[in-house]
């Protein structure tokens, strides 16, 4: 018995050692390796952990963009290859991934990271190495001055929050605002902007409460909201919690309270989870399947054909980010610095999430769409 244990332990160690060697070899040659017939772009996204669902969507968006380019013959006859790394949604892990991707000189630019904290942790390393990172999901204001090589295809919370506040206060005439937000960098950033902007327009924030991500019972915060008697509830969070809040609000006696949000709740999962309760929710978004843009419609069709499901908003942002990078490689050549200069000067790039230009900080400039859930569907509306 004892010897069996020893043999097993030895076998396990051997297996580990072999896998270490097996993995070390390509990594070692990758650094110095020539580009050959392939052009590499990186992808840093959470493939495991709490944000894995969005991370996977991002991976699918990038893979789709690359597949389309390769099907058309690649760039200058070379095929594009994606090197995907998992950042687990953890800033410490994101720094490791950044070191790995930046070290491999055959990687020309990358899409990533998703969480703002991860983008901020990776940014110093990417900027130091001089490689472009385009984030498909980091909307925190702090990313604005993260560095010359840091771009994003999603607008800041400030842009969307400002737009939402104007729509909510000026046009819909809501004066007493309730804000619920998830207690992390994203939710808090959005709540701050929403409060600042709505108050700037003369409205009053009567209640502001945080909830935890993955919380399932919202009765406490909803009771507080009901007590304050607001005209509208602005949610700074993602679709899962929004659906639950919408469902549970009737129990708190505010079943008719209008809900507004931003693009983070744009997902079919919101309607699947929320059913009737999410009817009438208003939101801003850059991506919509009822958009008339040809690029958007082509993207939705290709995505649905490829993966058998409708794309979410982050898949679309990631698709655009990958397209912009490949456009950069096509026009500026396989050179990290040249790609950066090209993207920095990019004007009116037509993507699945609208027409994009970058400002001097690498932030994207776009006009959001207004949407409302009508009859179980996201519909673009005027008001």
């Amino acid at each position: 018995m004892k010897s069996l244990k020893k043999i097993l332990a030895a076998a396990l160690t051997m297996a580990l050692a072999v896998s270490a060697v097996g993995c070390g070899a390509p990594g070692g040659s990758g650094g110095s390796g020539g580009s050959g017939d392939t052009l590499k772009i990186g992808l840093a996204t959470p493939l495991t952990g709490a944000s894995a669902e969005d991370g996977k969507a991002i991976q699918e968006g990038v893979n789709l963009a690359v597949k389309q380019i390769n099907d058309q013959g690649g760039i200058d006859g070379k095929t594009v290859e994606v090197v995907a790394e998992d950042d687990k949604g953890d800033p410490s892990e994101a720094a490791t991934v950044a070191n790995k991707l930046a070290q491999d000189e055959s990687i020309l630019a990358l899409v990533g990271d998703f969480n703002s904290s991860c983008t901020l942790a990776g940014a110093p390393i990417y900027n130091d190495a001089g490689i472009v990172q385009i984030s498909p999901g980091s909307s925190a204001e702090a990313v604005t001055d993260a560095g010359d090589f840091t771009f994003r295809t999603i607008t800041t919370d400030a842009v969307q929050g400002k737009y939402l506040a104007k729509w909510c206060v000026d046009e819909l005439g809501y004066k007493n605002i309730a804000i619920l937000f998830e207690n992390d960098d994203y939710g808090k950033g959005l709540a701050d902007v929403a409060q600042r902007e709505t108050e700037g327009l003369g409205a009053k924030v009567v209640v502001r409460e945080a909830y935890e991500v993955n919380q399932t019972d919202f009765s406490t915060v909803l009771t507080k909201v009901a007590k304050a008697k607001p005209d509208v509830l602005i949610i700074g969070g993602l679709y899962n919690e929004t659906a639950l809040i919408a469902k549970q609000r009737s129990k708190a006696g505010i079943g008719e309270l209008p809900i507004m949000g931003v693009d983070a709740i744009y997902s079919d999962a919101l309607i699947d989870l929320g059913g009737k309760a999410v009817e009438g929710i208003k939101l801003t978004s850059y991506f919509s399947d009822s958009s008339e843009s040809k690029v958007t419609q082509d993207f939705i069709k290709a995505y649905t054909d490829e993966y058998g499901k409708a794309p979410g908003t982050y898949a679309a942002y990631a698709y655009d980010a990958a397209l912009i990078i490949m456009d950069g490689i096509k026009n500026a050549g396989a050179d990290r610095a040249a790609i950066r200069d090209y993207i920095a000067g990019l004007q009116d790039f037509e993507g699945a999430t609208g027409t994009a230009s970058f400002d001097k900080n690498g932030d994207v400039i776009k006009e959001p769409l207004r949407m409302e859930i009508k009859d179980g569907k996201f519909t673009v509306v005027d008001k």
Partner: protein, 337 residues
């Protein structure tokens, strides 16, 4: 030739010294063999986790008190260090010392009420402390900048010379690890260390021979939390960005796993545990989606087949028995004493 081998066996200290010297030389040459920022980064992370697991081993492995909030001390050290360097432009090395003192103070405050009790109260209290610290990081926005975290934390500098390259951080952490190892080794083998291990073996017996457990447990806990703070301060300066999501319960468990997998109450075990548990997830990157799954499976297998860890008790005790049973020269040694 034979005499050399016998010599090595007769003086295990000699043999160990040679091996240790070779290892340190190899580690020092590492950046020249593999000049790759990614490998260096991983090596630096290993260094940080070696300090963390060594410090946790002091309280959990050597004194036998379970602590489930080590990431909180790591985080407090990181935030204290970051704030001092960022807002007061304090020198890194001074900040390192202040981080040690501040986290040590937290250790003292937590330890005073809980270490007087027997049983796993410390585990529960540190678990709660970990959560409280995380929530403070998130909600005390004026100081910690909330969930957005702190950015642009300055790199260490020695008299105007800024350590900004990765290999410089590598040498810095290497020196820190060696220093911690040296101090821990002296501590463990001192009378103080013996007292700690006696408490672990049996608290009542320890008391009966005049060892006051609370004192030793408390000092071990203060040192343990202080060292975690030092690791945190280094991390903040190295990565230059910290946010609350790094210092969560999960990290505490990872550090504890390093200690347990490496071998409770073993310095070498802590080093091996930290290295292996940092390297495996990196090595397994190529299987992307399944890597954490396989990582978990490996840990389960390890605990089934080698529950005492890589460098467990039997590894250390067995040698002594063998010497006692088989080798004559050892008996001679004993007689001559």
């Amino acid at each position: 030739m034979q005499s050399i081998i016998i010599d090595l066996f007769q003086k295990p200290g000699q043999y160990k010294k040679v091996a240790g010297f070779i290892l340190v030389a190899l580690l020092a040459a590492f950046p020249y063999i593999y000049f790759n920022n990614y490998y260096l980064h991983i090596a630096i992370l290993v260094g940080i986790f070696v300090i963390l697991s060594l410090s946790l081993n002091l309280i959990t492995g050597f004194t036998g008190q379970l602590c489930l909030g080590h990431a909180a001390f790591y985080g407090v050290g990181a935030y204290v260090g970051a704030l001092l360097m960022k807002n007061l432009q304090m020198n890194f090395f001074l900040a390192l010392i202040v981080s040690f003192l501040v986290t040590g103070l937290f250790g003292l405050l937590l330890g005073i009420p809980t270490l007087r009790l027997r049983g796993d109260y410390l585990a529960i209290v540190t678990l709660g402390f970990g959560e409280i610290v995380r929530l403070v990081f998130i909600n005390w926005e004026e100081v910690t900048n909330g969930p957005m975290g702190l950015r642009s934390i300055p790199a260490p500098s020695i008299m105007g010379f800024v350590l900004k390259e990765r290999y410089m951080f590598y040498y810095l952490i290497l020196i820190m690890v060696l220093l911690v190892l040296f101090l821990m080794n002296r501590l463990i083998n001192s009378g103080f260390g013996m007292a700690m291990q006696t408490i672990k073996a049996d608290e009542i017996a320890a008391e009966s021979i005049g060892i006051y457990p609370v004192k030793y447990k408390l000092i071990a806990f203060i040192l343990s939390s202080g060292l975690a703070g030092v690791a945190g301060c280094f991390y903040a300066s190295y990565v230059s960005y910290i946010s609350p999501t790094t210092f969560v319960y999960n990290t505490s468990v990872t550090i504890l796993a390093m200690v347990v997998l490496g071998g409770l109450g073993s310095l070498a075990g802590s080093v091996i545990g930290a290295a292996v548990l940092t390297l495996i997830p990196e090595v397994l990157r190529f299987i992307s989606d399944y890597r954490m799954l396989l990582f978990g499976a490996l840990m389960v297998l390890m605990m089934i087949f080698k529950p005492e860890g890589f460098w467990g008790v039997s590894k250390r005790v067995k040698n002594i028995y063998k010497l006692k049973a088989g080798r004559r020269h050892h008996e001679r040694d004993i007689k001559s004493q």
